[in-house]
Amino acid sequence: MDVDGEGVSAVATGDRTIPMHPGRHEAFHQFTQQKLPACKPVLTPAWVISIFLLMGTIFIPIGLVTLHASQSVVEVVDRYDIECIPEAFKSNKLGYIKDSSIPKNCSRFLKVYKRMKAPIYIYYQLDNYYQNHRRYVKSRNDQQLLHGLKYNGTSSCKPEQTNNGLPIVPCGLIAWSLFNDTYEFIRGASELTVNRKNIAWKSDRDHKFGKHVYPFNFQNGTLIGGGMLDPRIHLSDQEDLIVWMRTAALPTFRKLYGRIEEDLNADDVIVVNLMNNYNTYSFGGKKKLVLSTSSWLGGKNDFLGVAYISVGSSCIFVCFVFILLHMKNRRPYGGHNLFVLEQERHL
């Protein structure tokens, strides 16, 4: 890609010479005459083939590394929403979950198939749960979350704006539907400590949820949507709420519950005592518990690795096709014969 010298050399075809001051004027003249020095890349076979080759050689290694990182993540997933319903209620899931007199506790056994290094992240995963629904996303009030009862313009929170004539803090459907299953992990005889601090973004805690705002009149209505909040703890410390209110982008999502800061060994069996409180039965949602280690790339997801490898290999493939095509059917570059033929075609 050479720099074309049009701007420097005078063009023979009737270019008027205008007395010019050097420097700035010359540059301005080049500009007005559209003769700024420029680079004019042309797609030659050599360039194109090497670009594809380069792409291939960059993408395939990245893909392999990414795939390896993803494979190194150990993930234990357990779907418990069906299993945790007592046999008697299998046909009436809704009756079970709505009846607060029935105990909701449930025990699950998780087998660790591979050694998991701390920190181990505990996620709950919801399927078919549209946190990105337009009605839902809008049903919150950031001003109230920050300033509490001082702020009154909460019409966006309807229909969870007020209850019995009193405002609700935090208002809106998102807060109302707070996820409220709880988990306890027991390995062998001892209970595993679950660190439930710092699961929310620091930026949210500091600037979006007020330190002087306390839950008020929350979950007092006829219809209970989900979890309760301790009215003595200010919102900035209600990390479960903060996590829940970072609404997920996709209908299948995970949210961080806490961290286990101990290594788990292969073939450890972990007993999970959980409270199956949250109602996903009314709309056929799934609930899963996920234990996962992390790599530099994040969680377990093979997609990027596979995508990189396939893009890279298709680049290599295209590169070979082009090489073959080029060897079989060579065109003289800027060839004059072709130019004439081209003209004739249009005659």
Partner: protein, 1005 residues
């Protein structure tokens, strides 16, 4: 504006708009006529009025109009006159007028020479009185004035039809979304009340009722309306604004172009219309005026052949002082200086002493006397110097009189009775005994002079073809042969030739002529025929004096420009008000006509004969083209159509053709011809011809002209170009572009037009693509939000997308990108064809782009979607990733298509991407927005950056591969020229190029 109107036997001022037909009007010298009037009398005792018709036909010289002898002496303000004029209905023909006048019981016929039209100026005549025959809108000048249509560029028209397709696509997307939303609602109708993310029921007050739910029908409608709002950027409103900006930028570069700067008049190129820049790149037909456009409208006496001697003046020069005459202590000098031949000057100065001198003297006397030129004495700033300005209908005569003056035969004065000629400082008075005007049958004129030495001589001047038939061949055969040879050389040089002859009349001959002339000129019936007969009786047995060669000076660079235009495949039509002979000779000198061409000439006086000649011509042209085709096939080279056909048609025939069924035939014929010359056409006919072509093809037309007579044509054509020449400003005011000289048309359309078209075409496609990618990304997301039109990309970003994130690069590229250099474009005018073949913007490209859009939007959307599936990513973070992905992708896509990278392009493209990052960061730093700090969280992960890279590469690979394959295996002319430009084998290219000049195309409908 006031005019002087006869009211109650007195001339009183009256407003122009109040003038009525039948009123008697008085016009002063240099006044412009407010109406069309029949002359009654003038200040000249013979009833002559001189008028300038520059506003009507663009000719700057004076024309003579006559009052009828019968009305001459009746001064309306002195006594009542009554009469009746019967005239035709108002029409547009400025060269025709048929009427008769009944006065004192006598019936007089009136013709075009008796009428003065609105817009003319009275010159050299103190006053004129006439009767208004057409006023206001009925005047011929107004009827020729078609209103200015509003213009829209061809590209924009195409673009609008594609925008309709995009709108339908938009509606389709909205319908899909709303139908899906409906299905979702119906499927979940039992759950809606309690669904945590829907919660139809409102329990906040006693008595449960629906919250914000109006039944599935309304909800579907809302979904539809909402999706219209979300997807509306599919219709690129910002494109219109960007296009305007780009056009301003392109106009700036056209204006600043030094190659379109006219140094003579210090005028720059002017862009008067800002919305049709790109049309310049698609022109297929150029309609050009002749006078003032192709030529400078300056005739120049070049050489003379006198008595068989050629004075071509190899050693000619313009004498500084020129010839001048002293009159009453004042110096009189002709206005124009003429190149002189020193030898000839010497001989003419010696006077009648030698035989040679006598011949030369007779020759110049003939030139000075045998014409209808009126000398005007004009004051100059220097009180001792006056200038003689020769005014007359024919620029040739002007040139001849100026030449005679330079050689010492200065015409000083002309009345209808006598002329005064200053011969080498000696004033001599000649009586004009009779004058036979030029007519197109005889093709000559003659004047009978009573000389100071009491002899009576007839001087004749005319075209060589008719002159040689009336020359006395017996006495001076050798001179005739020599003169003929000289004429041959003159006309091969492109000069306009005239032959001059003379004869002395003896007394009896004169008497005989005089009586028959008197009889003929007062005859009522068949006067013209009688006069012609008288003329031919005296114009015979002439002794040949010599011949003159006059150059109709072409503007600088005209033949080269026409050559370039024709090579580029543009059809050049010349429409002129000139005589056929003049038009043809200009055609030759401007390389429009070549000796290889077969000329088809159509001069008809009735519709029938017009039809016949058109049919014959079509047959003939078909034959010629097929013969040429056969020859070309045998030759096996690119010489198809090497016998080009030139059509020459005059205004009278066009009267029968235009607005009738013959238009179709004319168009068929014209489309077979590579050159069309229309002569003697009226302004509205010019527009009619342009319209004829415009209606029958989809090709672009460009009209170029300089005079008021070209205004209607300029307005009618798709692109109107005005030459800011000597002939007033009307053409410039009506034009879309104005420039100093005809030759600038070549850089204008071949270079700037080509660039503008290519840039604008690319820009439109790119803008469609850019907005559609964004819309499709939004659409894909809607499919994952249970069809509720949540947008992951925050409102600010989607608003800034087409305003800040992606607009600057496309505008910069639209202004600055150049697919080929100026040098290449000028060297190979054929490259211009890309424009009128619509190679840069067509339906195929549009659909390909849309297909690509689909793929690219999928890449942008689904790569992050799958990479973040089953993860804790929140809406805002994913939205940030998507918007950055889209912006980088579309900018890199643009970068891939940029042909010339200057530092400005680099700054715009990479700067835009950086600006987008900055904007996204700023938006995410506002705590009150939902996406607070999201970008910092998401950008700290490697996945984010891997996604961006994958988006760009995966999105662009198909486009890149297809683009390369197309360029390599199906290269366009432009691609080949680009490669040649880059790899430097342009020279060899040129050698092969030159052979394939004529471009003929079968007529297209």
């Amino acid at each position: 504006m006031l005019a002087s109107i006869l009211v109650n036997d007195q001339f009183q001022p009256k407003k122009w708009k109040d003038l009525r037909v039948g009123e008697i009007i008085r016009i002063q010298a240099n006044e412009t006529l407010p109406c069309d009037m029949v002359l009654l009398s003038t200040s000249d005792p013979t009833g002559v009025a001189y008028v300038q018709t520059i506003n009507l036909d663009g000719e700057s010289n004076l024309k003579t109009r006559y009052a009828k002898q019968e009305t001459l002496l009746k001064m309306p303000d002195e006594g009542k006159v009554s009469g009746l004029i019967r005239c035709e209905k108002p029409n547009r023909n400025i060269y025709g007028f048929h009427a008769n006048m009944e006065i004192d019981g006598k019936k007089l016929s009136l013709g075009p020479s008796n009428i003065v039209l609105r817009g003319c100026q009275l010159k050299n005549t103190n006053w004129a009185i006439g009767v208004i025959v057409y006023a206001g809108r009925d005047t011929k000048a107004m009827l020729n004035n078609s209103g200015a249509p509003s213009k829209r560029s061809r590209l924009e028209t195409h673009m609008n039809s594609e925008i309709i397709i995009l709108s339908m696509f938009l509606v389709a997307l909205c319908v899909v979304v709303s139908v899906c939303a409906l299905i979702w609602l119906l499927n979940h109708r039992k759950e809606l009340d309690y669904l945590p993310y829907y919660r139809k029921q409102d329990f906040s007050k006693a008595g449960a009722k629906d919250y914000n739910y109006y039944g599935w029908g309304m909800e579907t409608l809302f979904a539809f309306l909402m999706s219209v709002i979300v997807f509306q950027i599919m219709i690129p409103i910002s494109l219109y604004i960007s296009m305007e900006l780009v056009r301003v930028g392109q106009a700036y570069f056209m204006i600043r172009d030094t190659q379109m700067y006219d140094e003579a008049s210090h005028s720059r190129f002017q862009c008067r219309a800002l919305n049709i820049n790109e049309d310049l790149g698609q022109v297929k037909y150029v309609f050009s005026d002749k006078t003032g456009t192709l030529t400078e409208n300056k005739m120049e006496f070049q050489c003379a052949s006198i008595w068989g001697e050629d004075y071509s003046g190899g050693n000619s020069k313009i004498e500084q002082g020129g010839y001048s005459v002293q009159v009453e202590g004042k110096v009189l000098r002709p206005k124009m200086k003429v190149k002189t031949d020193l030898e000839l000057l010497q001989i003419s100065k010696c006077g009648n002493g030698t035989k040679e001198g006598k011949h030369v003297g007779d020759f110049f006397l003939a030139l000075a006397a045998c014409n209808t030129i009126v000398p005007l004495v004009v004051d100059t700033s220097d009180p001792t110097v006056k200038i003689i300005d020769y005014q007359g209908e024919s620029p040739d005569e002007q040139a001849l009189v100026y030449a005679a003056a330079t050689y010492g035969f200065m015409l000083m004065e002309r009345t209808s009775g006598h002329i005064v000629i200053d011969i080498q400082g000696e004033r001599q008075r000649f009586d004009v005994l009779g004058l036979h005007e030029f007519d197109s049958d005889r093709k000559r004129m003659s004047v009978i002079l009573g000389c100071p030495d009491k002899t009576v001589r007839v001087f004749v001047k005319g075209a060589d073809t008719t002159m040689f038939s009336v020359v006395d061949k017996s006495s001076n055969a050798s001179i005739i042969r020599a003169t003929e040879a000289h004429l041959q050389t003159y006309s091969s040089l492109g000069l306009r030739t005239l032959v001059v002859g003379m004869r002395e009349l003896c007394a009896s001959e004169f008497e005989q002529w005089h009586s028959s002339f008197e009889a003929a000129s007062t005859a009522l019936i068949g006067r013209a025929a009688l006069l012609r007969k008288v003329a031919s009786s005296v114009e015979n047995n002439l002794c040949i004096l010599g011949a003159s060669g006059i150059e109709d000076k072409l503007q600088q660079g005209v033949p080269e420009a026409i050559e370039s235009l024709r090579t580029s495949g543009i059809k050049v039509w010349v429409l002129t008000g000139d005589k056929q002979e003049t038009a043809i000779s200009i055609g030759y000198s401007s390389k429009l006509l070549t000796s290889k061409m077969t000329q088809i000439i159509i001069n008809s006086n009735s519709k029938e004969s017009c039809r016949r000649s058109l049919e014959d011509a079509i047959v003939m042209s078909k034959k010629l083209v097929t013969i040429a085709g056969v020859v070309g096939n045998v030759g096996g080279s690119s010489e198809a159509g090497s016998t080009p056909v030139a059509l020459i048609i005059d205004g009278t025939s066009l009267v029968y053709v235009l607005d009738s069924e013959l238009e179709e035939q004319l168009f068929q014929l014209a489309s077979r011809c590579s050159v069309v010359l229309c002569c003697r056409v009226a302004p509205f006919q010019k527009a009619g011809i342009v319209d004829l072509v415009k209606n029958r093809t989809s090709d672009m037309t460009l009209a170029i002209g300089d005079g008021a007579n070209d205004v209607s044509m300029i307005q009618m054509a798709d692109v109107g170009v005005g030459i800011s020449g000597q002939e007033g400003r009307q053409a410039v005011m009506a034009s879309d572009f104005a420039m100093g000289q005809f030759r600038f048309l070549v850089p204008l359309i071949l270079v700037h037009g080509h660039w503008n078209y290519q840039r604008m075409a690319y820009m439109i496609l790119y803008n469609f693509y850019r907005n559609a990618v964004m819309v499709l990304v939004l659409f894909w997301y809607v499919l994952f939000t249970s069809f509720t039109l949540t947008t992951a990309i925050n409102e600010w970003s989607s608003m800034l997308y087409s305003v800040v994130y992606t607009s600057v690069p496309t505008i910069v590229v639209g202004i600055l990108d150049k697919d080929l250099s100026r040098r290449t474009l000028l060297q190979y005018p054929q490259l211009y064809g890309a424009g009128y073949r619509q190679e840069c913007y067509n339906a195929k490209l549009f659909w390909l782009t849309m297909l690509d859009t689909l793929w690219q939007s999928a890449a942008v959307f689904f790569i992050p979607l799958f990479a973040y599936w089953c993860s804790g990513i929140d809406i805002s973070s994913l939205g940030d990733l998507w918007i950055l992905g889209v912006v980088i992708l579309v900018n890199v896509n643009l970068a891939m298509d940029v042909i010339r990278w200057t530092w400005i392009t680099h700054a715009a493209i990479w700067g835009s991407i950086i600006a987008t990052f900055i904007c996204v960061v700023i938006i995410d730093a506002i705590p009150s927005l939902i996406g607070y700090w999201a970008i910092f969280h998401v950008a700290s992960s490697v996945t984010f950056w891997l996604c961006l890279l994958a988006i760009v590469i995966a999105g662009l690979i198909p486009r890149f591969a297809v683009k390369y394959l197309y360029q390599y295996y199906k290269p366009s002319d432009i691609q080949i020229a680009r490669e040649a430009e880059k790899f430097g084998n342009l020279r060899e290219l040129g050698a092969v190029q030159i052979e394939m000049n004529p471009i003929l195309e079968p007529p297209r409908r």
